[in-house]
């Protein structure tokens, strides 16, 4: 048993060394590179504050892109997830739908962005489309998984009334999985703001466009200002979504069973 563990650890270390060699990952270079951060910091304090409004405006554009992408993506993923849920469909419906969603998920957002830049040209619209696609692939999966795990009791109780399948979905499945939907939306928006921040690298709009250009012209100080704006924004959104989640989601999940249990007799 112990010998087996040692073997596994040995193999992992060997793979680590080989892989590091292959990708030129050298810890010494990392340490030697640390002082370069000092240069960035030095340049940062010298940057004209007039760039701050520009950075904020670029961040605002990024947030709007992420917002549109998340809202539209979630809106499209909801009906798709209904067709992908195993407890609502026959195999002939859910299997192809799952295959399509899996195919959508294999592309990272930056590759979608490249594809859409080719299709609709440079600019934020390509970025929005990329975020929509990524959101669909991701949220539809989360959503059909949460539909598959909803409590079977309300489903049994309401289907025994003899309602139609669409009524069952409209009045039981969606309300029962709605709390998950809100938390998925928040999670996705948070994640999409970060993703949208880098889509500018391939010309698909957002704050990343500025960052990549400053880096190209060795203006590290300016690039750093924009990066700090991203950092602060992401932290703020993270904080806000935790607050919203606490208020609306945690509460409804803890309050599920409040039955009065007392001694019988």
């Amino acid at each position: 048993m112990n010998q087996k563990n040692n073997l596994i650890i040995g193999v992992i270390i060997a793979l680590l060394v080989v892989a590091s060699y292959n990708v030129d990952a050298n810890p010494i270079e990392f340490v030697e590179g640390l002082p370069n951060l000092g240069i960035v910091a030095e340049e940062l304090v010298q940057v004209d504050p007039k760039y701050v409004p520009t950075a904020l405006w670029a961040m605002f554009e990024t947030i709007q892109m992420a917002f549109i992408g998340t809202v539209v993506g979630v809106a499209i993923s909801l009906p798709l997830s209904l067709f992908a849920a195993r407890n609502l469909n026959s195999k002939f419906v859910y299997a192809p739908m799952r295959a399509i969603l899996a195919a959508i998920r294999t592309f990272p957002s930056i590759l979608w962005a490249i594809l859409f830049v080719i299709m609709v040209g440079l600019g934020p619209f390509a970025g929005v489309l990329a975020i929509i696609m990524y959101t669909i692939g991701f949220v539809a999966k989360l959503q059909y998984e949460s539909i598959e795990t909803i409590d079977s009791d309300p489903v049994d109780a309401v289907s025994s009334i003899g309602v139609s399948k669409w009524q069952l979905i409209r009045y039981v499945v969606i309300p029962e999985s709605a709390p998950h939907l809100l938390s998925q939306f928040l999670y996705m928006f948070d994640y999409n703001v970060r993703q949208t921040s880098i889509l500018g690298l391939v010309g698909a709009g957002g704050i990343g466009f500025y960052i990549i250009n400053y880096i190209k012209f060795f203006e590290y100080g300016k690039a750093a200002i924009f990066m700090i704006v991203v950092l602060i924004t992401v932290l703020a959104i993270d904080w806000a979504s935790v607050k919203i989640r606490d208020k609306y989601i945690i509460k409804s999940q803890h309050g599920q069973e409040v039955s009065i249990k007392t001694k019988s007799k």
Partner: protein
């Protein structure tokens, strides 16, 4: 066939439909290994309150689910108002609209309000457009509010279901069933976890509803005492078999299964069974 006068046909239907539920030698199973019910016979009169009592795992919930078509039997015949429960049968599916079913954990929609939960009972009466846009007619909403106050939840129409107490949740489940304008109510251990006082309040609600409408109730209970108090007949189920059918007449307990056991013999048999 000659047409009967209104009066005749009413008499005629009364005689024909005195028995609303009949089970003859019903067997059913969840898997190939064992049977959950092993040849159950029972017959229930229209308008009565019929209780089913038995240990956990004896097949009580299974029996209820056979009556509204949520499960199918593997052998034997079941008739509910002359139809064999089958969710694929158009006629039976229509009858399901007026069979209220309250599962063991009630099946409320936790994040919906009391009013929304109760209105679900009216869904079969909505057309496609109304149900798509969640647009219930004014008179259905008024009816729901009336039922909500009948079950003692006036003022709590807009409270989310998960915020209610155990007793209140049961009231909502009953209101949802009453909203179906039911002729049969199937309820699975809905008062088992409640205290003495609250479970009697809930049972009184069902009794009231039975007085107001011609409602047949089939209720699974945990507590024999409570079952005898409220039901016209009590069936005792053990390991998939009906071993007793009893009822109270005056101050004696009568054996309806074989017809010759005394109260003492019945109680002895029941208590020895429930100790095992």
């Amino acid at each position: 066939m000659e047409k009967k006068s209104l009066n005749d046909s009413q008499n005629f239907s009364f005689i024909l439909t005195k028995k609303i539920i009949q089970m003859n030698d019903v067997w059913t199973s969840y898997d190939s290994k064992s049977y959950a019910l092993e040849g159950v016979n029972l017959s229930i009169d229209r308008g009565t309150n019929y209780a089913i009592v038995g240990q956990s795992g004896s097949g009580k919930s299974t029996l209820l689910k056979l009556l509204n078509g949520m499960m199918v039997s593997s052998k034997g015949t079941i008739k509910v108002d002359y139809l064999t429960p089958n969710t694929n049968d158009k006629k039976f599916k229509k009858m399901m609209h007026t069979i209220g079913y309250i599962p063991q954990n009630l099946g409320l929609i936790k994040n919906s309000t009391v009013l929304q939960n109760v209105l679900i009972g009216a869904l079969p009466r909505l057309n496609k457009i109304q149900s798509l846009f969640n647009k219930f007619p004014e008179d259905e909403i008024n009816e729901a509010k009336k039922i909500i106050s009948q079950v003692g939840l006036k003022g709590k129409e807009n409270r989310k279901a998960y915020m209610l107490s155990g007793g209140e949740k049961r009231r909502v489940a009953i209101a949802r069933a009453l909203m179906q304008k039911p002729h049969i109510l199937l309820a699975d251990e809905i008062v088992s976890e409640l205290d003495h006082v609250t479970s009697r309040e809930i049972m009184d609600l069902v009794a009231d509803a039975q007085k107001r409408m011609n409602l047949t109730a089939v209720m699974v209970h945990h507590d024999m005492q409570l079952a005898l108090e409220y039901a016209n007949r009590v069936a005792v189920i053990k390991e998939g078999n009906k071993i007793l059918e009893i009822g109270v007449e005056g101050d004696t307990i009568v054996d309806f299964q074989t017809g010759d056991m005394t109260t003492d013999e019945i109680m002895e048999m029941y208590s020895s069974e429930s100790k095992k």
